[in-house]
Amino acid sequence: MEAPRVFEERMGQILVAGSGTDTISCDKQSLAGSVSQRACVFCGARVVLYPIADALHLVHGPIGCAAYTWDIRGALSSGPELHRMSFSTDMREREVIFGAEKKLEQSLRELIAKYQPRGAFVYSTCVAGVIGDDIDAVCRRVGKDVGIPVIAVQSEGFKGNKRAGYSAACQAIDKLVGTADTTGIGPLSINILGDFNLAGEIWLIRQYYEKMGLQVVANVTGDGRIDDIRRSHGAALNVVQCSGATMELARYMKEKHGVPFLRVSYFGIEDMAESLYAVARHFQDVDWQVMERAKKIVADELKTLVPEMKELKKRLQGKTAAVYVGGAFKAFSLIKAFRHLGMRVTLVGSQTGTEEDYREIQQVCDPGTVIVDDTNPLELGAFLKENDVDILVGGVKERPIAYKLGLGFCDHNHERKLALEGFLGMRNFAKEVAATVESPIWKFVPRRCGRTTAGTSLSTESVHDGSSK
C-alpha cells in the first residue's frame, strides 16, 4: 500500500485486511491540518438528540453552531416538528465578557412559554465552556419553575471528538429515563435505540416489531418523544442499532433499571432478518409465536425482494465499492449488502470506529481491503484512485471527492432522503447503487473516458449511415 498522500502520523490508523497486522489505532484526536471528515462533541450530541421532536433544542453559544445544524438531518416526525427549528442564545461579545447565564435563562423562559415543549435540551458549546457559564444551575432552576425536564448537554466542541458527543447525549437522555410512570407497558415490549428516522426508517422497523406482536415503548431518538423516553425503563428489552451513538445509554439502562439490550443492524438482508430473529429469540419463553411471526415477515418480504435483487446483481456483478461512514457498525452491514449485489468492497473506513469495531470489520471483509480510521480528502482521494472503485458510499462531505474523481456515489448519511434500512431499504439501496454506477456520464468524465469509447462521439457520418439503413 503506497499512498503518497498519507500523513506519516496517521499510518497506524490505516491497515490492510489479511496483512498480518490486526490492530488499528483509533479513537484518537484528529491530526491538526489533516482536514478530517469528523466534527466535534457538539455535533455528536446534537445529531443524537436532534430527532426528539417535542423538545426544545437550544444551542448556547454564538450563532454558527445553531445555524449549521438547523434542519440538518432528514429525521422525520409523525407529530410535532419543534426539532426542525433552530434556537440559539446567539451569544455576543458582551456576553462572552460578562457571562451569558442571564441571556440563557431569559431565552429558555421565553421559548418554553412560546413553544410549550415537553422538555428542553440546552447544548453547551466551546465558548459557553470556556467562559464557565453554570448551565446546569440555570437548567435546574428553569425546569423547576416551568415543570418540564430541562437538561444541560455537556457538549463543548473541543472536549473530544464526535464520540464524546454521543456520550454527552446518552448522559442527557439518561437523566430523562425513569422519571415517569410505566403503567400499561406489557412484558412483550421494547425500545428502539440508535435509529434516527431518516427518511421514515423507524416507521418501517417499528411496523416489523409491531407485526411480531411487540409493544414499542420509546423510539430513541427517531420520531422520539420526551414522555416516551421518560417511561422507557418499563420496556423489557432495548434493541440497539448504531454502535457508537446509543450503546452507552443501553448500558446505563441495564445497570440502573435492569433492561437488557441486544445489538442489531437494519441494513442489508441478513442483518435485518437476523435483527428480527434475535429479538424474537429473546421473547421465545414469553411467547413462542413471536418467532413465527418474525419468520413470516422475513419470508413475505424476501418473496418479492429476492427476484429483484437477482436482476440487479446481474447488472452490478464484479463492480467494486468504497465505504466511508460515521459509525463502524454501518460499514459492517454495507460490506455484506454489497456482497448481495455481487460487488466487492475494497476500501472501508469510519470516523468514529473503536478497536473492537475494526476487528469485526476485518473479519467480514476480503483480504487486501484497505481499512482506515478518521480519513481526510487527500488520503481518501488517493485510495479511491488507487483502488479504482465504481462507487463511494459516504456523506455530503465525501460526495464531491467521489464526483471530482468521476465515481458514483451513494449518500448514506444524515441528509439522505431515501430509506436504506429494512427490506425496503435494501431494495432502495440496490437501485441507488445501480442508478449511479450505470450512469452514462462516466463515459464522458475525463479520468475514465479513455476506457470505453463506444458511443461517446456522434460524427455526422455515423448519423447518416444509421438513417440510410
Partner: protein, 461 residues
C-alpha cells in the same frame, strides 16, 4: 415624502430562532478560497471546519477543503500554538500550499490566542526548520464568531489579504475590484465586463474556478485558479479600486485600506444588480477606459429594458419580501423597484447599520413608502411582520423556504446559501445579463403561482 422605518428586530425576543446569517469564520473561508495556492485554515475546534465544509459543499457542490488546528481541551487551556504550527506544517506539506489563510474562531478568540505572536513563533520555527518546497505565506484574520456575521468574515479576510501582500510598485493603470460575496458565475461575468473595456483587472478574491471547476483527469488537492500573489502585491500600483457594496464597514474594507495606505482612489458602488446599479458600474468602466460601452453590451441592456417592458404588467404593484446579505438585498431591492414591484420588507442577519439608508437611496423617487428594514434579524422576526405573511413573492436564500412554504408564497432563490436547489454556484445576479436572468425567474415564479392557483388552468399567460 418617504417615511423611514427601521424596526428594532431583536425585541421582544432575547433568543434567536432560524437565523438569517452564518458565523464570521465561514465568510473568511470563502474569501481565502479565492487565492491561488491557498488552503483556508481555522484555528479552533475540529467541528467548525467540518460544519463549514458541509455547508459550503452543499451550496457549491465542489470539494471545499478547510484545515483545522483541531484544538483540544488541553490546548484550549495551555494555548493552541503547537496545534496551529503542526497543522500549518501538515497542510503545507501535503497540499503544497503557497498561502495558508488562517482565521480564528470563537473558541480561540475567547481563550485569548494572540495571532501575531503565534505567527512569530511559526516564523521562528520555519526559519530553523524550513519546509520542503518552501515556506507558505501565512495570512491571518481574527474572526470572533460572536461578533458580526459571515459577511464581516469575508470582508475581513479580503482586507487581510490585501494588507498582507500589497507592496510598493510602479503605477500600472490596472483596476482593483473587490466584488463582495457573490457567486462564481458573477465573478466570471465581472471579469468579462471589465475585459470588454480592455482594462487590466485584479479581482480579489476570485474563487470562480476553485468553487466551480471542471471535471478533470487528475484532481489536484489545490484546485487551479484564484487571485495570484503577484497581482495582490501589485495592488498599490492600481489606478483605481472599485468596491462593490455600500454597507461594508470601513475597518473591514480592502478598498479603504488601499486608499489610506497607498492612496489608490476608491470608488464604492452597490452590487451591480439591475439597471441603475449596473449602469453605474459600466459608467466607471467607460470612464477608466475612455471608450464607450461596446455594442454587444449595449444590446444586452437593450434586451433587458425590452424584457422589462414585456413583463411590467405582470409585476405592477406586486409585493416582495427580500432577505439575505445586506449588499445582495440592496441590489435586489433596487432592481425590484425598477421593474415596478413593491418591496415591503427587507431583512438581514447583518448589522452594519448602513442598510436602511441604502434601501432608502435605491427606492427613493420610485416608492411612496420605504420598505421596512430589519437588521440583525432572524426568520422568526420576519414571520412576525404582517408584510411577510401578505407578500406575493419572497426573494432570498434557501433558508427562507420553510417560511415561504408555510404561507404558500413563491420563493425566488438568490445569493447564499442555496441548499435546496441545484446550481447555486452558477446563479448570475450581476450585470444586465444577470438582471435579465433574475427578471425571467421572478416573472415565471409569479406566473407559475397564478397558473397553479387558477381553476381555469390558462394555456396562455
Amino acid at each position: 415624502m418617504i417615511k423611514t422605518s427601521v424596526a428594532k428586530a431583536r425585541e421582544p425576543w432575547v433568543s434567536t430562532a432560524n437565523p438569517c446569517h452564518q458565523c464570521r469564520p465561514l465568510g473568511a473561508m470563502v474569501a481565502f478560497q479565492g487565492v491561488e495556492g491557498c488552503v483556508p485554515f481555522l484555528h479552533g475546534s475540529q467541528g467548525c471546519a467540518t460544519y463549514m465544509r458541509r455547508y459550503l459543499i452543499s451550496h457549491f457542490r465542489e470539494p471545499v477543503d478547510i484545515a483545522s488546528s483541531s484544538v483540544s481541551e488541553k490546548e484550549a487551556v495551555l494555548g493552541g500554538g503547537p496545534s496551529l504550527r503542526k497543522g500549518l506544517r501538515n497542510v503545507t506539506e501535503k497540499y503544497g500550499a503557497s498561502v495558508v489563510g488562517v482565521a480564528t474562531t470563537c473558541l480561540t478568540e475567547t481563550t485569548g490566542e494572540d495571532l501575531g505572536m503565534l505567527v512569530r513563533e511559526w516564523d521562528k520555527e520555519v526559519a530553523e526548520r524550513p519546509l520542503q518546497g518552501g515556506n507558505p505565506e501565512i495570512v491571518t484574520v481574527p474572526c470572533p464568531s460572536y461578533d458580526g456575521s459571515h459577511i464581516d468574515g469575508f470582508h475581513g479576510a479580503n482586507r487581510a489579504l490585501v494588507a498582507h501582500f500589497a507592496e510598493a510598485c510602479s503605477p500600472h493603470g490596472g483596476m482593483a475590484l473587490f466584488p463582495n460575496f457573490v457567486s462564481p458565475a458573477d465573478l466570471r461575468h465581472l471579469r468579462e465586463m471589465v475585459g470588454a473595456f480592455g482594462i487590466p483587472l485584479t479581482l480579489v478574491p476570485d474563487y470562480a474556478d476553485r468553487l466551480d471547476g471542471p471535471a478533470l483527469v487528475e484532481t489536484d488537492p489545490l484546485p487551479a485558479g484564484g487571485t495570484t500573489m503577484a497581482d495582490m502585491r501589485a495592488l498599490p500600483g492600481c489606478r483605481v479600486s472599485v468596491e462593490l457594496g455600500r454597507t461594508i464597514p470601513e475597518k473591514l474594507s480592502a478598498a479603504t485600506w488601499l486608499e489610506q495606505e497607498w492612496k489608490v482612489p476608491r470608488r464604492t458602488l452597490g452590487l451591480p444588480i439591475g439597471i441603475r446599479e449596473t449602469d453605474a458600474f459600466m459608467a466607471i468602466l467607460e470612464e477608466l477606459s475612455g471608450i464607450e460601452t461596446p455594442e454587444a453590451w449595449q444590446a444586452e441592456r437593450g434586451r433587458l429594458i425590452d424584457a422589462c417592458v414585456d413583463a411590467h404588467k405582470y409585476l405592477a404593484g406586486r409585493t416582495a419580501v427580500v432577505f439575505g446579505d445586506e449588499d445582495m438585498v440592496a441590489g435586489i431591492v433596487s432592481f425590484l423597484t425598477e421593474i415596478g414591484m413593491k418591496t415591503t420588507l427587507v431583512a438581514t442577519g447583518g448589522k452594519s447599520g448602513r442598510l436602511a439608508p441604502v434601501i432608502e437611496r435605491v427606492t427613493r423617487t420610485f416608492l411612496e413608502e420605504m420598505p421596512r428594514v430589519l437588521e440583525d434579524s432572524d426568520f422568526r422576526d420576519v414571520e412576525e411582520c404582517a408584510e411577510a405573511r401578505m407578500a406575493d413573492l419572497f426573494i432570498g436564500h434557501s433558508k427562507g423556504y420553510k417560511l415561504a412554504r408555510r404561507h404558500d408564497i413563491p420563493l425566488v432563490r438568490v445569493g447564499f446559501p442555496l441548499h435546496d436547489r441545484f446550481g447555486g454556484q452558477r446563479l448570475l445576479h450581476v450585470g444586465w445579463r444577470g438582471a435579465l436572468d433574475l427578471l425571467d425567474t421572478i416573472v415565471n415564479a409569479i406566473l407559475e403561482k397564478r397558473q397553479d392557483d387558477s381553476p381555469v388552468g390558462y394555456s396562455y399567460l
